[in-house]
Symmetry: C2
Subunit: 165 residues, 2 copies
């Protein structure tokens, strides 16, 4: 569009349907699903589920997050997150309760093992992202990411105990 980069549309080579083809929510969901799936193969090769990957990615570079925050970031309901984190603790990827000021909270953070896995996967994720964005060119890529951030900023996260996977 700006230059020789992509932007001439025409939905996929595959399944389409009159209504959804122009429907933003559908396009977001499909794009999310397809882009993620490619990388999820690497994730699962590391022995993680997709939700577990989301958790360690959310914890990367953080000094600890609460269960509630992680549920938001990982797009699951709170009870799901509680159980996922318990599994991950058993596997030695995270530890719970690293000094929290509010004793209702469960503070979760990466163990050394978890951090190493997270760092490795995050690096690979960024390489994957580069490949995905390459056909758009630098400017369009920045535009896309900017608009997605705007969308997110304009729409508040789920109400407590609700989520919205």
């Amino acid at each position: 569009m700006t230059d020789g980069t992509t932007t001439e549309n025409q939905i996929s080579t595959h399944a389409s349907s009159p209504f959804v083809d122009g429907y933003l929510a559908y396009l977001l969901a499909q794009a999310s699903s397809r882009i993620s799936r490619e990388f999820h193969r690497e994730v699962e090769a590391s022995g993680l589920s997709v939700t577990e990957w989301r958790v360690i990615a959310s914890l990367a570079g953080s000094d600890g997050e609460s269960i509630g925050t992680l549920a938001q970031l990982a797009l699951t309901k709170q009870p799901t997150l509680s159980k996922v984190v318990q599994r991950m603790e058993a596997e030695g990827l995270v530890e719970r309760n690293g000094a929290r000021r509010d004793r209702r909270q469960t503070l979760v953070r990466l163990t050394r093992k978890g951090r190493e896995l997270a760092d490795s996967l995050c690096a690979r994720a960024l390489r994957h992202q580069q490949a995905v964005l390459e056909p758009f060119g630098h400017d369009n890529a920045a535009l896309l990411i900017g608009m997605l951030k705007d969308l997110i900023a304009l729409h508040p996260p789920a109400a407590p105990a609700d989520d919205g996977v």
Copy 2:
């Protein structure tokens, strides 16, 4: 950006995390989740689950889709779709096997009741979409949608029997 419309970023008022904040796959997933959730309240008020809504939205304006295609469109695995469609048939929203050339296939289409519900919800969905896109302005909105379509076109759907919710 182009004009007075949104595009100055700064992630949400809420939960964020160093790595994911700039990660495309995460931004897509969050945006998808948040935008959809708002409308899903209306969907559930109509007595449909989110997956059921995706199915009737996918069937709107179509004269029938196979189970496999619907699974792609609805972002679920094929066995899930089979069961969802069976529930929907029991509720009188869809009918199965409207003359298919390949007798392995199960052709699914809307009943009158299903079509009425679909039309009503699709109309409301488009109004919701207008509201969501309004702050971006016409040109940026078109750009966003175009880039999402490009992303989708560049990334093929899941291999058979796999999906990638």
